[in-house]
Symmetry: C2
Subunit: 362 residues, 2 copies
């Protein structure tokens, strides 16, 4: 079985501002471990996927970073002229594979910026998913919820469809968009829901058929691109089609609407989308000192400080006195200080700074 | 009446670190208003004291700053080779005056780094003190306590000795060193105590006699210096005498021991020693925004932030989210973050950094 991996790396996440910026989003940062998140994503699939079978879909804006990442390696980089969410991104990879004669092999869709604790387990589950995808199913990995998170989509489980090697594989009744707090509480209590971690497996043929049915305009654009691949007008066609593409997720555009069989495999491999300074701090708890402080960077000195995360990328000496549950992110040109628990509100902060015309710092 | 002012500017306070440094202590910073604290102290006495009658006693380490401060102006600068607390500092100024034939005029001793809200009132009280000092009294200005402060010395009032122009002038029973919390509470409740704000008035003759009696070794050194004033060996003598001087305050060395008449005039002119970021924030409350935030510097952006003081001397953008009662002090090479209420603990932090060998940043 030849497995293809599609690493979605076009995100321009602002959640780790000011460490992350529009021109260097989270997936290109070393926020956990000694490698960037995208490097870790690449390493994670390598044991089950030939390097040349890996497609990174990124944004042209990050061309230099992607080019550096590639180096002498064999994987494919597809650069989108603009980010249009996951449906066009997945469609582009699927079209690229079909143009190269690959229609029936499983393609594994992976966000570039997630963290997975148990990589061996992850690969086992992916391999199982690939076998099912080859049989024509759309596979989604269901993350078992641990809190009433309102920031993720959910998968409403149906009956156990198959049990293989001790793993229960579920029918999916419904894709559920990000819920409010009350619904999230209910989903958590019921035990009937997974988090949608954005990991899918299907064949190019099946996903393209689904896109054709549910997103016909996108499909039309993809056909134009397909024709131009390896032609001199590829860049122009890509550019012009992407200007017309709607920005739409595969979840909303296809998964919520399809009547095709969708199965979900529980992904109990220690998943995190590393969505905020707070969740990063939680992930790195083992690295904290006896007062549960986490320091990344040099020249940081703590006094009577507890449960505080200091990320110092600048050359400044940083002194914290008497703080608790605070995050300090210090870079050469920007400083961010907040309670760890409020660090996810950075999204609104970024938006406000954009409105104030501070794009230069974002 | 010719009045002489002695501005004690040798302090190397660390309480405003990292805005203040050993080579630029608090008195040389613009922490309140558009002028440095020492400039404000100079301006404050000018209406009652000729410029040439003002003596600034500073530290040789700050020679360049002092030189700049002098510019084309007429006041006298005496530079101590090392800081030996207030007794040698005051002794040096007194010796300088005596050498210039001034023995019976009042000399007003003023710390360079205090803030006074009501300057007209201040001058009225100083003038009154000068008249009493000319009659041979040692005058100290008593600050009416507003909290059980353990960081100041106290003056234990006796009976009202004189009442002039509606101002009660008290005998002083005792100089009290910095009390513990319990005693400070008791002093505050009793109404029998003033804070010792470090403002004194006496004649050179009287203070030198007192130093001769209670600090004979210091007096001996002062005589050596006196002889060398205007001689070519002045710098050498000053240096060698200062190496031998003990580091001792006028309070402990003289005031606590003298049997000479000490009177205290209540100084209700809005005094502050600007002793911490917290007290500075309180002093500048009028400048805060509707959420009681105080910002000094550019490029500071606050979100859901209250009662927070951000002092940005660097070129960085500073973003605060969800903070309350925090001080952020940001300079080119150092960043300090603490709860405002704990900001006075900076002294211990500085000491710890010194032990760690981080003098370069102090």
């Amino acid at each position: 079985m030849d497995i293809y991996s599609v690493i979605m790396a076009g995100g321009s996440g602002t959640r780790f501002w000011p460490a992350s910026r529009a021109n260097r989003p989270k997936q290109f940062l070393k926020v956990i471990g000694s490698k960037t998140l995208i490097e870790q994503t690449l390493e994670r699939v390598k044991p089950i996927c030939k390097e040349k079978n890996i497609i990174i879909v990124g944004n042209q804006e990050h061309h230099d970073i992607l080019d550096n990442l590639l180096g002498e390696r064999q994987f494919v980089i597809l650069e989108e002229p603009r980010g249009c969410n996951t449906a066009p991104c997945i469609g582009l990879a699927a079209i690229y594979l079909r143009k190269n004669g690959i229609t029936d092999s499983p393609m594994v869709i992976l966000p570039a910026d997630h963290f997975i604790a148990n990589e061996a387990k992850f690969r086992e589950i992916i391999l199982l998913g690939c076998r099912l995808a080859q049989k024509g199913h759309i596979i989604t990995i269901g993350i078992i919820p641990t809190r009433p998170e309102t920031g993720y989509g959910y998968l409403h489980k149906g009956a156990v469809k198959i049990e293989i090697e001790g793993v229960k594989v579920y029918d999916i009744r419904r894709f559920v968009e990000k819920p409010n707090q009350e619904d999230a509480q209910r989903y958590l209590r019921s035990g009937e829901y997974f988090w949608n971690g954005g990991i899918f497996i299907f064949t190019p043929e099946i996903i393209l058929t689904e896109i054709e049915i549910h997103l016909p305009e996108v499909y039309k654009g993809l056909l134009e691109i397909e024709k131009s691949i390896s032609e001199s007008n590829y860049a122009d066609v890509l550019h012009s089609v992407y200007q017309r593409f709607p920005s739409i997720s595969i979840d909303y555009g296809v998964m919520e609407k399809t009547t095709h069989s969708i199965l979900s495999i529980p992904g109990d491999f220690g998943w995190s989308d590393v969505g905020s300074w707070e969740s990063l701090y939680a992930l790195r708890e083992k690295e904290t000192d006896s007062n549960r402080n986490l320091i990344q960077g040099e020249k940081v000195f703590l006094f009577n400080t507890a449960s505080t995360f200091i990320f110092n990328q600048s050359n400044q000496v940083v002194v914290s006195l008497g703080l608790k549950d605070i995050v300090i992110v210090n870079t050469d040109d920007a400083l961010f200080v907040a309670p760890l628990k409020k660090s996810q509100e950075i999204k609104e902060v970024i938006e406000a700074l954009r409105v104030k015309g501070l794009n230069f710092i974002l």
